[in-house]
Symmetry: C2
Subunit: 232 residues, 2 copies
């Protein structure tokens, strides 16, 4: 089978963060980045791997998760096209502290960690943009902590559905969540067992808040979901 060659947008066309690089830096980087394909559910990086590269998502959807107590996974972030990831560990000179895997087939730019650090050190505007990205990620993480610890099951699940909608939006019909996600992944987002994700989603369906057809979830009453999420 012949491999289809697809022309991708340049890295700096994907996001304003990369667009602040100088022409010279862009050309330099262009010769060094690699386009990599990951099939559905492929592992992109794993907790504990030496952090020697970072990625920019061209197309596809990615989950960032941590393996917790007794292998129980917690999804800590969702990524979509143009998001970049893996840089936190590169900056900290750490191993990755989380895993990244593909929700659906992905194309990514893979950037060498040293190259990223070189840009960070030499281009102040770029560094400044990265600081902002981290500042945002940190705020999200702290909110997440409260959501997962203080809300009850229904609140946590409602929160996850809204998070998915905000991140990926709806299909053309205007109400089917654009991420087809297993109940297990939904549980791993919402800090609950798979049983409880299944049960609680069924309840939401019975109450007319959503309708479910396998992994297709239609949101019928987002206001009420928001309400449930707020109350805990």
């Amino acid at each position: 089978m012949k491999k289809k060659i697809v022309e991708h947008k340049k890295l700096w066309e994907l996001s304003p963060v990369w667009d602040v690089l100088t022409e010279q830096e862009k050309q330099w980087l262009d010769g060094r980045v690699e386009v990599v394909h990951f099939p559905k559910n492929a592992l992109i990086h794993s907790e504990g791997d030496r952090a020697d590269r970072m990625w920019v998502l061209i197309t596809g959807k990615v989950r960032i998760y941590k393996e917790g107590v007794g292998q129980r996974a917690q999804i800590i972030r969702l990524l979509k096209a143009h998001d970049f990831f893996g840089f936190r560990a590169v900056i900290a000179g750490d191993t990755y502290t989380s895993c990244a895997s593909a929700f659906e087939p992905c194309e990514v730019y893979q950037v060498n960690g040293e190259d990223f650090m070189t840009l960070l050190r030499q281009n102040n505007t770029f560094c400044y943009k990265v600081v902002q990205a981290l500042a945002t990620d940190l705020a999200v993480s702290e909110i997440q902590t409260i959501n997962l610890t203080q809300k009850h099951i229904r609140g946590r699940l409602a929160e996850s559905l809204i998070t998915m909608r905000k991140k990926y939006g709806y299909d053309e019909d205007g109400c089917t969540l654009a991420l087809y996600i297993s109940r297990e992944d939904l549980a791993n987002m919402s800090n609950m067992t798979t049983s409880n994700a299944i049960r609680t989603l069924s309840q939401f369906a019975q109450e007319g808040l959503v309708s479910i057809d396998g992994r297709k979830i239609k949101v019928l009453n987002e206001d009420e979901l928001k309400h449930i999420s707020r109350l805990g």
Copy 2:
């Protein structure tokens, strides 16, 4: 009563992050920072306040916490002398997304938000140091999420005791935690009710893991606490 004038170390003597500033920047900043005193339990900044300044802790201990569902507070970070805080929100151009208050009387350098941003934009090494600080904070926050969501009560409390020890160390006797903390604060660190913090700490005392004398907590068996923390 005559106010005692205390000479403080210069801001850039406190931490390598600030020491990367140029001589010129140091002099400029020195003329603009303000030393502020906060008495015990004073609120330094509040969730929702416009983020127009950041702080560097000269002496004292600070708790960073978020008000969650139904006013229940969650302590998300502990700070000690030389730590800096409040800059995340300044960078994001946000309001503060958490509260900061003094565990004990504190002296801080108060830095104007615009001044901080000026330094961030003009000094790449400084920006780079701040990126690293954020990268560390983010990793800690994500670990915290797992600790608080997946561990059981005993594991969470043991974790908090170890966190306190790592951050503030022991008194001269080599085993009394150097932070005198109320059971309520301990509960707010560990995502549990005050009742359960009291009860579980008592259990630890009965099991000989710690000894308690009011708010003085002696750690008698740190290895076992670590073990309990790991198991969940």
